[in-house]
């Protein structure tokens, strides 16, 4: 995956690029907004990681300019501004996700990968399939190896999110934001309990456990 990073803090950019490269991605770095805009216009990137506050041109302007030029490349905003309003402003300007500094690498990589996947599965499909696990979005039913699995509505949403990002790590914060739509973090790991319930429903009685815990990151659904 080709990732363009617009970040004026060189130390942070270097660490970020190293982390993304280790995860198997190509990275390009732009040191300010104008530089970043020029690079983004040349195209060929799967995801843009944009710092909100940069010299010459701020992140919001870069992204809204790109969106006006009909560039739909997914954008992950990075910002030291973490208030709800700031998040909303970022998403309104055309950002697809918003990550508050400081962040864990696992979180960054998970979100970048989630964004690129989102574009690939842009088409409308009514069923999801990961390995022998199948989800019918219309009938709201789930089967594994032809066996019915009965899920609560929230469990269904949780599994849907995991299936849409199959093979990728998703963090607890991502699940809380995308599945529960909460933008605060409970101190206890409430998410873990929900995951273990889901796990007992989809993995119990099967040889192969699909729902994996990724140490230091979160969870991953594997085929």
């Amino acid at each position: 995956m080709r990732i363009l990073i617009m970040e004026d803090d060189l130390g942070a950019a270097e660490a970020m690029m190293k982390g993304l490269r280790d995860a198997g991605h190509d990275t390009t770095h732009a040191v300010d907004g104008q530089d970043g805009l020029d690079a983004a216009r040349r195209g060929g990137f799967d995801v843009l990681v944009v710092d909100r506050m940069m010299p010459r041109m701020d992140g919001l302007s870069v992204v809204s300019t790109l969106r006006r030029e009909d560039d739909r490349t997914p954008v992950l905003f990075l910002s030291a501004l973490g208030e709800i309003d700031d998040r909303v402003t970022g998403l309104k300007a055309g950002g697809d996700d918003y990550l508050v500094k400081p962040y864990a690498f696992a979180e960054l990589i998970a979100r970048v990968e989630a964004l690129s996947r989102r574009r690939e599965t842009g088409g409308v499909s009514t069923t999801l399939k990961v390995g022998d696990l199948e989800m019918d979005l219309i009938a709201r039913s789930v089967h594994r190896s032809g066996q019915d699995i009965d899920l609560q509505p929230r469990e269904f949403q949780l599994l849907e999110f995991l299936m849409r990002h199959a093979g990728q790590s998703v963090t607890r914060t991502m699940l809380l934001e995308k599945v529960w739509e909460y933008h605060f973090d409970p101190q206890t790991n409430v998410i873990d309990v929900h995951i273990s319930r889901l796990r007992s429903k989809i993995d119990k009685g099967f040889d192969h456990a699909m729902l994996q815990t990724v140490r230091g990151a979160g969870y991953r659904l594997d085929a």
């Binding site: 709800i84 909460y182 933008h183 605060f184 206890t188 309990v193 273990s196």
Partner: protein, 475 residues
Amino acid sequence: MAAMRLPGIIRTTPFRLTMLFLALFAAAAAAFLGYIYVATAGEVTRRADVEVSREISSLQAIYARAGASALNQALIERAATERPFLYLMMDATGKPVTGNIAATPVDPPGAEAHATFRVTETDADGAVVRRQAWGRQVKLAQGELLFVGADIGEAQGYVLRIVRALWGAGILVLVLGLAGGLLISRNVSRSLSGLQQVVSAVAAGDLNARAPVRDVGDEYDELASGMNAMLDRVERLMAGLRHAGDAIAHDLRSPLTRLRARLEAALIEVENGRADPTTSLAEALEDTDGVLRTFNAVLAISRLQAAGQIPNPQLFDPSELCAGLAELYEPLCEDKGLEFSVELSKGLKVRGDRSFVGQALANLLDNAVKYTPTGGAVMLRVRQRSSGEVECSITDTGPGVPEEDRARVVERFVRLENSRSLPGSGLGLSLVQAVAEAHGGRLDLDEGPGRVRGAARHPGRGPGLRTALIFPPAE
């Protein structure tokens, strides 16, 4: 001093307004005077005209009946009476024939016209007096000219005296007005100078300056109390910011010191080959996350306290929020063997920030689940109090908080002895309290359902704790 102050007063708005008003008044007075003068002076002439015309008719009747010599005789007789008219009879060429004035004031002398003129008289004391007179000249049937005039000096003098009195009154009004203007503007300046002093003091950095309020209840008092209220608020905000800065510095210094010490120790261990760097780094990372969590919590608390209120309040349904939280926490309770129940009233509204309230309730639920032993119960309840306030309460059957400690546990970093073994930053309740206050509400801590008999056999049934977030009614 007075000379120094006068120009200042002249520049004030009240003084200028007084001057403008005085000028308008003077113009009105002048118009009034002019009208009075024209009206009374006209009246004097008109009355003279009536009298003179009557005399002329009477003389013309004599002339018509008995001719010029009879008229001549009549004029001589009438000129000799007390307060006579002024007569002059002239032949057709205008040469005076008889009368008590020397020449006709009419110009040209042969015309039929009227004229205002002056007569000179010598009064009883021998002083020469010039008085105003008015007369009319007519042509008689044989071509002789007859002029009859009347002395209007006395009436005219009366009018002049009135005019003079009016002028005097006008000047008096102007002087009084000017003095009044000066007084009013000095008074206003004095009222405003108190406010001005406060403004300059604040501009110079003294936030303690307050405008004097005289308790008269006038607009200056209103302005002064408004200004004082504004300054109170500014001072509170400044104090809040200062406090926030101090608090962040204090709250972060200790965990950062801990982190640094741990890293330093780890470095020595790794250098001596006694420890695995991976473990040390993982521990350091965990510590850093702890510092960041503390930082975020402290920042949120400080921002809420500094702002004093929620920045963009919106109406939301607390029951709907709690239903979501209940769904999030229910499995956690079940896993821990806690009985979890929910009681939500419908149709309630709270004005505020859904996310902050969610965080606060999550903190309370976290605590309830964390401190209640297996076998206990947790209840989440949303209801409207009879006062109209909306109450979101969480009741557990855990060990509770002794009454004497309840005020203390909401303070930052206060953790009770028996909770030290459990993870926690000691900031949870402080944040809840800050959220409650920013919503104009409060956080209440009470005893739960109370100790049950034979508590020893029911480890999950302590006295319990009831925490309630109480919001004012959303109008």
